[in-house]
Symmetry: C2
Subunit: 73 residues, 2 copies
DNA sequence: GTCAAAATCCCAATATATTGGGATTTTAGC
DNA sequence: GCTAAAATCCCAATATATTGGGATTTTGAC
């Protein structure tokens, strides 16, 4: 789940909703330039920025365990 | 899943692993000050910063659908 | 292939996350 | 209640995300 995949998921979801970037920008309060960058996987948004967008399009962040890179700390 | 809960989850997971902040800081490359703020729910990290920490402690971000705030766009 | 809308790009200004250093407070074992 | 380690705080410097404005390109319908 990297920047690029998150961007894809956002764009995909927005298309499903049938809305354009400007609308999401206005509803979320995030500038359209910022949204463009994120959708294109070129962004590295603050968590709040990402959350505002996700919230607007009906997606949510979640946290789950995965395998550790280092077994010994 | 807001900033505060994410911080709690990170701290909780770190404790389970039995490692201190300095160690996570060194392994992840994120400054300890930044880690402190995030664990305390006072941070608003960039996605990359959050991802580096999560990756180090064996957690992963995920995206899933939730109810929309606005049914009509 | 024209046209309008949507998406993307460029740039300068601003806001804010991140960092490192050092000091202070809190925590936990003895 | 001492003590060392861990956690937190403060601050100035730096890096970078965000924004708004306008221009350009791409897309899709006709």
């Amino acid at each position: 789940m990297d920047l690029e995949e998150i961007g894809k998921r956002i764009k995909e979801r927005r298309k499903e909703l049938g809305v354009d970037q400007r609308t999401i920008s206005e509803l979320s309060g995030v500038a359209v330039n910022t949204l463009v960058a994120i959708e294109r996987g070129e962004g590295n948004p603050r968590l709040s920025t990402l959350a505002e967008i996700l919230d607007t399009i009906g997606l949510q962040l979640d946290l789950h365990p995965k395998k550790l890179n280092y077994e010994t700390m």
